[in-house]
Symmetry: C2
Subunit: 170 residues, 2 copies
DNA sequence: GGTGGATAGTTTAGAGATCAACTACCCGCG
DNA sequence: CGCGGGTAGTTGATCTCTAAACTATCCACC
């Protein structure tokens, strides 16, 4: 058989690593697809809106700075602005100027936002349970958490902006 | 402190599960963000286009049916149509009617597509290594693969279309 | 042999995301 | 003071994605 695959070179991964990688990709893709479908079809909040409200629900005064929110949700500022604008027009959140830094904007969950979150929560939680938590042994789920925490750390380093190949200029 | 969080009820998860879940979410978000950034900034193929070409590169004749491709990449048919249309206009792939089923369309990787894949592969692989593989112990990476394979399976069941709450209407 | 229901893929309009400006403000330093 | 560079957030044009409708084909069955 002629060598067809581009990646079977030694800069790539072993067979076993390749398999793990594929499983990872497929697993995350199918999972967000399934969870997103639950939100789209049975809940009034998209997964992204839900996550945003969860963050706010845990913040003091139900309020966070836009940039903190963006960082926490791993969203670009632009995307957050648009998302919050939409949610604001639905009455789920409110924005007001931050005191102390006139550039800043605080985002606060409204009562309607809290209500929407409370309505959506059971369905969301049930779906997460059903699709992921219950499909794994308890200790597998814990392991997944620990592993992805390491990945998150590593991603922060090489992720942020560009470099990575350009590396340590200056 | 007043109870602020919506989710701290007994239909939700334990503290520990909650932590695992958050780590999972943050890890996947940061990872795709970081890997996507590498593609956007230093490669000529987006992560999605790259994955599509990888699939084709492993298929007999470098060719796959649109629907097979869609299933393999966990993409809606509509999205695949759009993506392939864009890639076709760049000369990376070609479509032609499938023989034997006149509804079907085959998607084939062109020489230019293969060339683009080969150019992009080293950067892609290096990024995957750097951001994920090297950040984990070998056995952690293998474990991640096994766990996500289970999640993928589980997602297939409850995912596909709707139901889940509606369940077995017949 | 033709009818009804599935399957394959495309199309279109509208929602959402991205990227590159752009405004406004903060702060350190000469 | 005031200049320069950084941070906070928004805007608007453009691109991509989604959802629903639509065309065409296939196939099982009467």
């Amino acid at each position: 058989m002629a060598v067809q695959t581009v990646e079977q070179q030694d800069l790539w991964l072993t067979e076993e690593q390749q398999g793990s990688w594929r499983h990872y990709l497929e697993g995350t893709a199918r999972f967000v697809e399934a969870l997103g479908a639950v939100h789209d079809r049975t809940l009034d909040l998209s997964l992204g809106e839900y996550s945003l409200l969860v963050q706010l629900s845990e913040a003091p005064e139900l309020t966070m700075r836009m940039s903190t929110l963006a960082d926490g949700l791993v969203l670009s500022r632009s995307r957050l602005t648009h998302t919050v604008a939409r949610m604001e027009s639905r009455g789920l959140v409110e924005r007001r100027a931050a005191e102390g830094d006139r550039r800043g904007v605080n985002c606060t969950m409204t009562d309607a936002g809290r209500a929407a979150l409370e309505v959506a929560a059971p369905g969301h939680v049930a779906a997460v349970r059903r699709i992921m938590v219950d499909a794994l042994e308890p200790e597998e789920f814990a392991t997944l958490g620990r592993i992805m925490a390491k990945v998150a750390e590593s991603s922060k380093l090489s992720g942020g902006t560009e470099e990575g190949l350009t590396a340590h200029c200056d």
